[in-house]
Amino acid sequence: MRTICFYFQVHQPLRIKPYRFFDIGDDHYYWDDYSNKSIIRKVAQKCYLPMNALLLDLIHMHQGRFKVAFSISGVCLDQFEAFAPDVLESFKKLVATGHVEILSETDAHALCSLKSKGEFTRMVGRHAEKIKRHFNGYTPKVFRNTELIYSDKIGGMVAEMGYEGMLTEGAKHILGWKSPNFVYQNSIDPNLKILLKNFQLSDDIAFRFSNKTWPDYPLTTEKFVTWLNVVPKDQEVVNLFMDYETFGEHQWAETGIFEFMKALPSAVLRNTDFDFSTPSEVVKNGTPVAKIHVPTPISWADEERDLTAWLGNDLQNEAFSKLYEMETRVKNIEDEEIQRDWNYLQTSDHFYYMCTKFFSDGHVHSYFSHYDTPYDAFINYMNVLSDFILRVKIKENEMAEAEE
């Protein structure tokens, strides 16, 4: 087997509106409907709709020899449902071809795998239900954790939930001399197959495609095929994992990214001995070569491939620990709105906005953040969380009174 496995992450957080101290105890709606809607609409026009149409064409054209996988977060699905039903429809069409796989993940694109097994399991279950509802009873077999976060322990929990495979980063400090182009196994439960992102070839498309200072600019399908052909013959699978927003959003249409993708499948099928597979096909057909040991969690973020983009400074740690202090209390509360907000408040992006890594050396890492500074992000989030805690307390009192 020589195969390419495309996986795209589709995710948009539910952004919090500017929420002031004066709002605490008074305003219980936290979400910035206007910007959430306008961002979904913008990205739909630039990326989701044109790229979905392109993929559908490619799948038809190659009669099933070209295939891809998606992981669509629950918080993103909810926003499609509310603001972009046309996008949801186009994903349904893709899944209906039978050549598009949907992966499992946490409903809110959360970091709960690092904190609580209970919450992690619940959230994965909730996402599975959503996928089933939207995609005609579809049941994912392979798991992808938020931002490809993985450790032996997380893999163990995922195996326990019955998944056959899981995706993560081919982080250099984990692999050492080993190649990401094989199927590996979880070190606790070898039944769970691990697919590792080939970050070189993935990032050539996702990050470097339009970078004019890159020596290999411009990237053509000819060049890409040459690079695939120098992958040693014994290596089975090249995993190309990236943000779906790469197409049309991070790399604008003007860069030629759509044309590149349009031409890539034919070029690969004609000029290499690679074909295309979905993650569950790779898990089924690949030969696991070894266990992979990941004692501390890794992710696909930044040069360090660790968790410091979300949980690296005091602000993030404080917000994260104060949030999860609420877990057991929230669990016992039957209230749709509290449960909804509990879910959305866990989205990893809220913690990403508080990252000071880039801030400190003067770079403004503002592309993905609507806040001026990480401090603003923290203040806003903590105000919301303070209100949320008040609501939980009030609800608990109500429930206690009702019992009496």
Partner: protein
């Protein structure tokens, strides 16, 4: 008596307490039928007509006057350090100078032109404006008759000195804040030099508190006999009734001011931790902006009280009133506060206050708890006490508002007139 007064700002266009104090003082002098010529770098046209306002931007300078040359010679050194921005903290200041060092011109010809449009702000051309202001002052001193010159804070000191040079009338230097209050021990030398020159050139110095008077004597070498204290007052002592209700069940303890070294925000944060450890049913609010804001946010996170300690950013207008209204305790832990008008605002909202002993307002406000700014244990004790022992806060509420009624600008102005008379007599 005719007073030629030099300020830097006047309500409603103010960015600090200086403008408010000038307003109160002019109003008080009005009450005693004193004539005031009030000069500001820039007039907006909507100032209350309490004085003969002179817009420095409109004054045309006559360079044929020989004395101007001498004044200008004394002022040239100001230009050398023209990136000085006195009301910025060191971090903001560095950011600013990094930027401006690349596009500054060493001598700006516009200073020598006949007319000059002042911004009247505390911006990047501050030093240029201060020195130009002095030239304008000389012109005004020549053309407008007056008995005494009164200059407020260092920005107006070169103007006061220049005016005295021309008319020979006595100069009063009014100290609302010194460089030691703003910057601690790391003073900006050029600002200090101007302050010192102003105080030494003055016939008499007026300080807003004994605290400030001591600084004037000890750090600027002014003879004690030459320095009087004139405490600030309040324009309106009435109690402000508010319909604003808080939405949280917890009690609220508030810090409201610039988040800078001078205001001691870190002591408030540390005291908050001690209170929350004992009583979790309290929320702390830090309202304002400043170069230490991010450091405070980090410290709050580090202490793990992010859901109990809130930041509002800069507040203005109704938000300020609302903040006072919903506060159960107001704390001003200033490291060095020449006067500090904010606690009096809190009193007007019936909010009990804790103030540092290192603030001038502590000299006039009896019904407040006073602690050393660095004594976070005492501060925490005081907060806890005011929150839990209703009798003290009730007493403060009742007596505080009575006390406020005694702090009138008319009284301050009456004392000021005496200072004028004595100084003129001496001369």
């Amino acid at each position: 008596m005719k007073v030629l007064m030099f300020g830097w700002e006047f309500p409603p266009h103010i960015s600090g307490g200086l403008g408010t104090a000038c307003y109160g003082l002019v109003k008080g002098l009005n009450h005693h039928n004193q004539e005031v010529i009030f000069v500001v770098p820039k007039l907006w046209g909507d100032e209350e007509p309490l004085a003969d306002f002179v817009n420095a931007s409109d004054v045309v300078i006559d360079y044929r006057e020989k004395k101007f040359k001498k004044i200008w010679k004394n002022l040239t050194y100001l230009e050398v350090s023209s990136f000085l921005v006195p009301y910025l903290g060191p971090e903001e200041f560095k950011k600013y100078t990094d930027f401006s060092i690349h596009d500054r011109t060493d001598v700006d010809e516009s200073v020598f032109s006949n007319k000059f449009e002042f911004s009247g702000k505390y911006g990047k051309d501050l030093m240029k404006e201060v020195s130009r202001y002095a030239l304008v002052a000389a012109q005004i001193a020549k053309s407008k008759e007056h008995d005494v010159i009164h200059a407020h804070d260092w920005l107006a000191f070169p103007a006061g000195i220049a005016a005295k040079e021309i008319s020979g009338k006595p100069l009063i230097a009014h100290i609302h804040a010194t460089e030691f209050d703003r910057s601690g021990e790391s003073v900006n030398k050029p600002v200090y030099d101007i302050e010192r020159a102003g105080m030494h050139a003055a016939d008499h110095v007026v300080a807003v508190s004994h605290l400030t008077r001591n600084i004037v004597i000890n750090k600027y070498g002014i003879h004690p006999d030459k320095v009087s204290v004139l405490h600030n007052a309040v324009l309106d002592a009435s109690i402000i009734k508010s319909d604003t209700r808080k939405h949280v069940p917890e009690k609220i303890v508030t810090f409201l001011g610039r988040i800078t070294f001078q205001k001691g925000p870190e002591y408030f944060v540390e005291a908050a931790k001690k209170v929350i450890d004992r009583d979790p049913n309290v929320r702390f609010v830090m309202a304002g902006n400043g170069d230490l804001l991010n450091k405070m946010v980090e410290r709050v996170a580090e202490l793990g009280m992010g859901t109990k300690f809130h930041f509002t950013g800069f507040l203005k207008g109704k938000d300020v009133d609302d903040m006072y209204a919903i506060s159960d305790v107001y704390v001003m832990p200033s490291v060095s506060e020449p006067f500090g008008i904010a606690p009096l605002e809190a009193v007007r909202h019936n909010t009990p206050v804790i103030i540092s002993k290192q603030s001038g307002v502590a000299e006039v406000l009896v019904n407040a708890i006073k602690v050393d700014f660095w004594d976070v244990d005492a501060m925490a004790d005081a907060i806890f006490g005011l929150l839990h022992y209703e009798s003290i806060s009730k007493m403060f509420r009742e007596l505080g508002s009575e006390e406020l009624k005694k702090l009138k600008w008319e009284h301050v102005a009456a004392k000021l007139v005496k200072v004028y008379e004595k100084t003129i007599l001496k001369k």
